[in-house]
């Protein structure tokens, strides 16, 4: 994607630490996190519950600030990147406004940033088409299934053609079949837009299927233990056949072993 040409990586985290002060005392959510996500790269974060995946994502989105370390988004501070609308975000809950139709939910960021009405309508129609919800543009969120709501949230996060997509377990609440279909759709959409993606998930096959690289994290305190390149580049078409290949299974096994702390420590911090 020529319009996304940039020298700065989408995300560069150096020595990130995050400590929450709670009544029960300080909670160290992240420690010494180093991570670089290249422009156009798809990176998944995987790790046990409470290892700080959401926290890391919130730091990138400038919804919270790091306690220590340096964080850059496209070479800028996260706050600046947020003000420049460099990223789109989709949370675990779809977070749709219940009084707005699907079309109006998708168009919310465009409306806030004063895109004029006709251009907005055209863009919203395009996005609804992209996530296969053209027929439901006039429906309200409570008339949609969970998967459809997620697709609305994804369309909304894509509305302003961000160079970076932040997605926190967007498919967490979906059944396995819908989930696999959504994965295929997401990989298609990302291929079309050329955006970098930071994707949080609990599903190993999902991480391997979608990503160029999988980041494995461990809890207490949250840190990165392993980086695994899937070897499935951005150019590769991710379809059902890919799930059946031995290469895919091998990577799934590798990520699982890394997660369970099998002796693959030597490969930790590979690829940096």
């Amino acid at each position: 994607m020529s319009k996304h040409e940039t020298t700065a990586p989408a995300v560069r985290a150096t020595g990130i630490g995050k400590t929450f002060d709670t009544k029960a005392g300080p909670v160290q959510a992240l420690t010494d996190v180093d991570l670089e996500v290249a422009a156009g790269e798809f990176v998944s974060l995987i790790g046990p519950s409470g290892c700080g995946k959401s926290t890391l994502m919130r730091l990138v989105a400038d919804l919270d600030g790091p306690t220590t370390g340096r964080l850059e988004v496209f070479g800028k501070s996260p706050a600046q990147a947020r003000q420049d609308q460099d990223y789109g975000i989709a949370f675990q809950q779809a977070g749709l406004l219940p009084w707005r139709t699907v079309a109006d939910n998708i168009g919310l960021p465009l409306e806030l940033h004063r895109m004029d009405r006709s251009a907005r309508a055209a863009r919203v129609a395009e996005l609804a088409e992209l996530v296969g919800l053209t027929d439901f543009a006039g429906s309200y969120p409570d008339q949609l299934s969970g998967g459809m709501q997620q697709r609305v949230a994804i369309a909304r996060s894509l509305a302003e053609q961000p160079r970076l997509l932040l997605m926190d377990e967007p498919f967490g609440a979906l059944d396995e079949m819908t989930r696999e279909r959504m994965q295929t759709e997401l990989s298609r959409i990302v291929a079309e837009t050329g955006a970098a993606v930071v994707f949080v998930t609990h599903s190993i096959p999902e991480a391997v299927f979608l990503s160029d690289r999988v980041v494995v994290m461990s809890p207490r305190p949250g840190r990165i233990t392993t980086l695994i390149s899937t070897g499935i580049g951005p150019g590769v078409v991710r379809d059902e056949q890919l799930r059946e290949t031995t290469g895919f299974f091998e990577k799934v096994t590798e990520v699982r072993e890394a997660l369970h702390g099998a002796p693959v420590g030597s490969s930790a911090r590979e690829g940096r």
Partner: protein, 306 residues
């Protein structure tokens, strides 16, 4: 959005709504008939002197003076107000008074609602305002209306701007608004604070300011809280109007009529009931008008369902 989907979406709830409304109306009428029947049955079988337990009368006398027949009350409504020649029918006199009161209550309600919404927004936007204002808002409602009314009337009587003089009805409206603003202010504040964190954080990621967040998220989210507050407010405004009319001695409204017709009850018992019916209808009409607002804002109430 295609036309077909729009009509589909708008059409389905309306079809369901019509059936529900017909049923509600039928039930309402049935209730009215039931009250009339109970009234008459008690009048026939109840003791003349009512039911007295340990010196307290717990059920009223059944004499024609205390409980006129339903048909007598209806017939009285259709008859002339006074025995003077050319007097207007009683129902018209009552309706006119009720309309005057409705107008005053409406002014009071609108002022109270505007003030309440403004206070709610102010308290949400400015933290200090919430801590500083909320106790006073709550405290304001402990000032008894009756003590307040004559004072306000006297203050009003002294206000004179050029040719314009403070009309007496305005004192009544101010008291009505004083009662109406409270539920609106409290409901509004609660509604504005109701959006979940995800919605607010989403707005933050869009770099939306406080004003945009207010308009796009907080105000729509407040609607389900605001509507019951408006209903409470209108009830307060109507009661406040009637009571304030009595205590300020305002002559044209239903409040004064309730008192003066009750004074004539010994000679004309059915007449005293006419303004009571007028007040009931007044309350229902006021509540119905507010209900229309809820209907107009119904797409903002979707949050209630999910």
């Amino acid at each position: 959005m295609t036309i077909e989907q729009t009509s589909l979406r708008a059409g389905r709830p309306r079809a369901r709504g019509t059936a529900a409304r017909v049923r509600a109306t039928a039930l309402g009428l049935l209730g009215l008939v039931a009250v009339a029947v109970i009234w008459e049955v008690y009048k026939v079988f109840g003791p003349d002197d009512g039911v007295v337990v340990a010196g307290h009368r717990i059920l009223p006398r059944t004499t024609d003076l205390a409980m006129p027949h339903v048909w007598e009350m209806v017939a009285r409504l259709l008859g002339p107000t006074t025995s003077q020649a050319g007097a207007a029918p009683l129902w018209l006199t009552v309706a006119q008074a009720a309309l005057v009161s409705l107008g005053i209550a409406a002014v009071g309600w609108v002022v109270g609602t505007v003030v309440g919404i403004a206070l709610g927004v102010l308290m949400q936007m400015v933290r200090v305002a919430e801590h500083g204002l909320l106790p006073w808002v709550v405290l304001s409602q402990t000032v008894p209306l009756i003590a307040f009314a004559p004072v306000l009337k006297n203050w009003g009587a002294q206000i004179e701007v050029g040719d314009w003089r403070w009309p007496q009805w305005l004192s009544v409206a101010v008291i009505a608004s004083y009662l109406a603003f409270f539920p609106v202010a409290v409901g509004m504040l609660k509604g504005l604070q109701s959006p979940p964190r995800t919605h607010l954080e989403l707005m933050h990621t869009y770099d939306a300011g406080r004003w945009a967040t207010l308009v796009k998220v907080r105000l729509p989210a407040a609607v389900p809280y605001l509507l019951p507050a408006l209903r409470l407010g209108v009830a307060s405004a109507v009661v406040g109007t009637v009571v304030a009319e009595v205590s300020t001695g305002f002559m044209d409204g239903i409040g004064r009529q309730l008192v003066s017709f009750a004074g004539q009850a010994s000679g004309d018992p059915a007449k005293a009931w006419a303004p009571i019916f007028g007040a009931v209808v007044l309350g229902l009409v006021a509540a119905g008008l507010v209900g229309l607002i809820g209907l107009a804002l119904r797409s903002y109430r979707r949050g209630e369902a999910t």
